[in-house]
Amino acid sequence: MTDSDALVFECTLDAPPEKVWRALTMPEYLQRWLKPSQEIDMAVVTAEENVSLTYRWREAGQAAVVGMEDSLVTFELGPTTDGGTWFRLTHAPLVVPVAANSNQAIMLAA
């Protein structure tokens, strides 16, 4: 059991945040590194250029874990002193039931 309700991966990358940002936002780049093994519907929820980016991550098809189809993937970026990027990826399931609509509505509207 995890203490937090999310998977978190943190590392540094040998490229400036601006370049990492392009890899995270341009569809042709995304496709090249994400290589989704199943159908994933990604929609931008919030974005602050070169700083943070959140996608709604929705699994479809047979490989989806039933009941866990919807989640949020957040990338956080920051410059390091040597011109690289501090990178943190947080992947969290959506805990809000569909019927409790406030948060859900906000995300769908984004």
């Binding site: 990358l13 874990v65 039933v66 866990m68 992947h91 399931p93």
Partner: protein, 104 residues
């Protein structure tokens, strides 16, 4: 209750402690409450929430109810965590490779 609500259920430290305790033994509500500074109604409420989420199951024996972990209740969450624990490290490696190939 949907499976994703498991996270909400487990956000409560008392409920996590109850689950941990039940992971090693089947216990009655009275036994469960030992060591917790909470009232009997409060414990009943936590048990009801855990049962509602399918995380624990109840077995009646006379006047006593015995509780234990329902392993299948955790399955979707564990599957999901296992899947993405494996997924992301390889993708971050891909991202490193891509960054080398990209112009400036």
């Amino acid at each position: 209750m949907s499976d994703t609500d498991i996270f909400k259920v487990l956000a409560d430290p008392t409920r996590r402690a109850v689950l941990e305790r039940l992971a090693s033994a089947e216990l009655t509500a009275t036994e469960l409450r030992e060591g917790f500074a909470i009232s009997q109604p409060a414990m009943s409420q936590h048990i009801a929430v855990l049962r509602g989420a399918g995380l624990i199951s109840e077995r009646r024996e006379g006047r006593f109810a015995h509780y234990r972990v329902a392993p299948e209740g955790m399955a979707p969450l564990h599957k999901w965590l296992a899947k993405y624990r494996a997924f992301w490290p390889s993708r971050i490696d891909n991202l490193r490779d891509l960054l080398k190939e990209m112009d400036q």
